[in-house]
Symmetry: D2
Subunit: 277 residues, 4 copies
């Protein structure tokens, strides 16, 4: 017996749940969990079905394709652990959290490698016997540096790239190569404090709450589909530096919660939004 | 076109979702929202289905009964507003919150009447043109008093009784008459601080969090199925009285969130627990 | 014995706490609570001291003025209930919450009157025996309307104006007349979603959190000093309308928490920020 | 210039703040932060004062002792990093979190050693170049095992012991030797679910919230002074095992927040409670 997850996204129509579950039943696939969502505003239907049984992927998917409306996107995903590459700069809290959660099994993932534009985090990474690639950006153009980063990543053929406080902007070329496969953690509750130094901005504005946002990277900086956000209260006692310090816990928690959803195939990207089932 | 909600609870078996959604499809009932849950530990299946269409209740339910395992509990509930009677003593915060949320439409309910063992809250209730019955317990045995309370309630034939800080223990006789139809707000995160004066107990123990619990009333005091719980942080600055004051906001929020779930048919009671879909 | 609160704000210097508490001690005023804060970035000192005893305001303040640096702002505030006027448009949730919390004593305030540019909330206000002034803006210029609003407010000489979902922008003239005496509730976690229809903006952006901000009103729209913010999680199930509905609880909670701080003299306004002691 | 923290705890009396701050002023010690609390119920006064300057500890403390009531407990604590020994069994999440937060500097502490009754966590500990002592309890009486544990700890002369999911009960003899110097993380919001298998208990009761409690260890099991508590929501989807998994994040967060307070001298123990300034 195997476990797989079926992700279906199509135009809404009467009887979709009935059709899909009929086909599962016909193929003797047992439904462990099922969630669906209809976006009434746009008429889109989303369904995530965890299945258990003996799969004949080809005939199962063929039956689905025949039954579902044209243009349906459906994926049947195995429950194998995904492989990720993590990009970092100098800050250790998000990387450290992912390393530790992978070590203790609370994050279901294989960390293939870590790539950093400084060597600051090499020692931490190697404690966990994971290869670290130091790809310095010094004396290189953005394009040249990214080329080297891509060369470092490519051999690992990762399912997902994780920007764990990677402080460099990616070019459209890079983003295209990993379409909806790059997750970033941004240190503010977007869309507040877009751009540089969000904690300084938050301090200057005198806010009483700061937060963090995990999102897919697109070519519009800080504008990609949001996966997860969370916040913590601050007050007048917090300097901009204190806010950054306080923000670190939120950042790493938000990032690892987002990764949990992405790595276990709960996330549909849809326009500039996510549907998380 | 009408809207109704189908609540199904039965032993788990292969193909249940498929069977139920097929029957909906056959009856041309459109599924607006659907949620299901399987309790693998006990092998129970729960499904809540919001439907839209032209209903023939009798044939629809007959089809379901034929398709589903023996012993299935299923209810088809209209989307009409439920009617409640509220029982109170002296504290106004929960009653006031329900009155105001009903007034502004954020709680979808008809308050048929308020019954109190003091007249403290008569004036507040009548501001909203709702009948208030003052049923004093003075000089009466518990049974005599309850008899009068039941006589005050009966003409309204409520779908639900709400104990909004009603500070008297109900007898088994009363509880039986309103089986799984009484919701109480308890001023602690049960099972901590069961019994009298929970805020004093919390103060004495030096806890850093206090909370509230909305639950169905059963004959085991403070032991009924929990619907909703929430907490707030406290610290050494809080006296027992401050904790009680701070707890009021949590109490009323927890109660009205629980009522929202109950009144909109999201709650299955199952053993001593709730499944909320 | 009386209770008063001393609010001191001056440049930081060595020995300030010692000087102020010495003078309290000399005047036989007992310190019930004391909080201080030094903003090291700007070198400002803030202290809030709750005192109990027999006050000779004149000699006490004279002693303080002699001991403290030039330019010190200090206020000795009696613990009498403040008087407010509430401005509203059509939505009842914030007004209703303030009315109810005032009724049950959890908000320590006297509501002198409610002024609305519609008559929608007249009936609700009058349930609580509070005068309602319907000042329609129809066929009036902004200045003409505001003139009438000010005339309605003036006789009550309020300590504070509360904009409880008052959906009109105030002119600089109005704001000046009530300098740091107007508290507004804004339906977003500022500075995100400044401007009109914040819930629609939040929906369009696909955020996973929405919030509310209580702030003093200044001439920079949505830019005044923030007093309190809070948020709640949302997800793909929420339409823009659902977000607005869900936001109402946050709005009223944030507003009443902010009012609690302001009405009990915990808030210093300082540049475009607040220090809350 | 040095930084030290003065912790004062005595019976309440008029003028205490004034007396203490006068002595600081006289010794040209600048007050960076100051917090005080009076427990009116018991008439106790607590004050925590962060000082900066050139300290003559002996004369400063002598001046304080002369000025303050008899029986006053006062400590002048240097801002040096504390030294801890961590006790563990098999679960890695709390240990891992402390190791990582110490590594990245967000926990201001020196981990002298880790002692475990299994060798499960030896490899993780040694990644961070910290000595691990495997002291098996197999074939030993509780007293014999504890004797060996104490021998392993003693050479490090720790300021604090941290029980990071150490699943063995300590004897009164052990607890006495480290009076108010042992911090434990308990996997429930005490006093709910005292004793063994709290997550199973929580599951059986059908609670909607689970939590964790960091507390000082005393001879009354699960009854020591509480330092920090936090909770997370759960629902019918959570098995007992899921609850334990979900609880791990809360456990480690609560423990590290408690340690932060203890290690930076914010915590007074007082009867069976804590005052955290």
């Amino acid at each position: 017996m195997e476990k797989k997850t079926l992700l279906t996204h199509c135009s809404d129509a009467p009887g979709l749940i009935s059709k899909i579950t009929n086909i599962c039943y016909k193929h003797q696939l047992n439904i462990i969990h099922n969630n669906e969502f209809v976006d009434n505003a746009s008429g889109h239907f989303f369904m995530r079905t965890e299945l258990e049984g003996y799969f004949n992927d080809q005939t199962f998917l063929a039956d689905l394709d025949q039954a579902l409306p044209e243009g349906t996107k459906r994926r049947l995903v195995s429950s194998e652990r995904k492989r990720i590459v993590i990009l970092v700069t100098k800050e250790s809290h998000c990387l450290g959290d992912i390393l530790m959660k992978t070590y203790d099994g609370s994050l279901n993932v294989e960390i293939a490698a870590v790539v950093g534009n400084y060597d600051t985090l090499q020692s931490l990474t190697e404690k966990f016997d994971i290869p670290y690639h130091h790809v310095s950006h010094v004396d290189l153009s953005r394009e040249e540096h990214e080329q080297k980063v891509m060369e470092a990543i490519a051999p690992y053929a990762p399912d997902l790239l994780v920007l764990a406080k990677y402080m460099r902007v990616l070019t459209p070329n890079f983003v295209e190569q990993y379409h909806h496969k790059i997750v970033n953690i941004h240190h503010s509750f977007l869309p507040a404090f877009i751009g540089a130094k969000p904690y300084q901005q938050a301090y200057d504005r005198g806010v009483k709450i700061i937060g963090a946002t995990a999102h897919y990277v697109t070519n519009d900086l800080d504008e990609g589909p949001i996966i997860k956000q969370d916040v913590i209260p601050v007050d007048h006692n917090f300097s901009a530096k204190d806010m950054a310090q306080a923000g670190r816990d939120v950042e790493k928690n938000v990032l690892s919660k987002a990764l949990n959803k992405v790595l276990n195939d709960h996330v549909f990207v849809y326009g500039n939004k996510t549907v998380i089932l």
